[in-house]
């Protein structure tokens, strides 16, 4: 059974593998370009393990931002992880010794894989979640280390490769859109964040967006059909 679960986890994580290797390489290259070599890439991808924050982190390191500023930026960029946690409380219940790592490794992409998983058997489910989380982080660490090592050796101009991150999220968004008939939440997310971006500007729109989304979803409760 375990072998079967590992095999399934591997097949299911293949899209994330492609995304993480590309994004990880992009991250490793940019980090290396800014004077932080392979050990820094390894350290950041192992300990932080949050893609967009690590990209933002390069900016912070280069500009020598103060530690409170670093903490605040991390808080704002990664606040969305609170949302992921809220939706996985039930599914991660009773996961035992695997649970801390599963929570630590709950990235955007891992979340997009585990949030739709419906294993009946709790033990199998937790084992599968754990393996998916672990595989994903291995891809990410491998990608960033590889990027750091080959970054300077890549013979062509890699400018624009960072778009792969945007492409990944657009893909997940489209995938979610196609998998449900009820688009209220997706539209709400788009409108709220676009509106907040215009009103609050690009450095501080995430928090107001999340507040609007939370309040709107609360008000919508019972008025829209449940998602399944």
């Amino acid at each position: 059974m375990k072998n079967k679960l590992i095999k399934r986890a591997f097949l299911d994580t293949l899209p994330v593998m492609s995304g993480y290797i590309v994004l990880g390489i992009g991250f490793g290259i940019v980090l290396e370009k800014n004077g932080y070599g392979v050990w820094w890439a390894l350290l950041m991808s192992t300990l932080i393990y949050a893609g967009s924050m690590q990209y933002a982190g390069i900016e912070l390191l280069v500009s020598a931002a103060s530690l409170p500023a670093v903490a605040l930026t991390t808080l704002m960029v990664n606040a969305r992880h609170l949302f992921y946690g809220i939706s996985m409380i039930d599914k991660y219940k009773n996961a035992g010794i695997k649970k801390p790592y599963m929570i630590f490794a709950l990235t955007d992409e891992t979340y997009s894989l585990v949030c739709s998983e419906k294993y009946e058997n709790e033990k199998d489910r937790h084992f599968y979640f754990f393996i998916v989380s672990l595989f994903d982080q291995i891809y990410w660490v491998t990608g960033s280390v590889a990027g750091s090592l080959i970054g300077s050796a890549i013979p062509f101009d890699t400018n624009g490769i960072e778009f792969s991150m945007t492409a990944l999220f657009v893909t997940v968004f489209v995938e979610q859109w196609l998998s449900t008939k009820n688009h209220a939440s997706a539209v709400l997310g788009l409108v709220a964040s676009a509106l907040c971006l215009v009103i609050f500007g690009q450095d501080s729109f995430l928090i107001p967006s999340m507040v609007i989304i939370l309040v709107s979803l609360t008000l919508m409760r019972g008025k829209v059909k449940d998602y399944e």
Binding site: T74, F104, Y111, L190, L217
Partner: protein
Amino acid sequence: MNNTYALCAILTMALVTALLRFFPFVVMGKKKTPPFVEYLGKMLPYAVMAMLVVYCLKGINFTAFPFALPEIISVGVVVLMHVWKRNTLLSIIAGTVCYMIIIRLI
């Protein structure tokens, strides 16, 4: 000194990220999940992914050349590609290659 700073900054990022990830589980993990949280768990992913897309595109500028055209076209390519083939890898590569080509042409 520079290394000490970088190490501290990275540890700060790691700590805050982990705190955010653990917070919901620590606060609500022990009790039975309230129906409202269950409802949010179902609804949030869609809105959050939309927010992430906007977050990635936050730097685009509609008012000056090239009027965000590289981003608009490339996102369009990703969407069409994904609706057509539903292959994540293919959609990402197509969009990224498209973007890399356009920013070199204009």
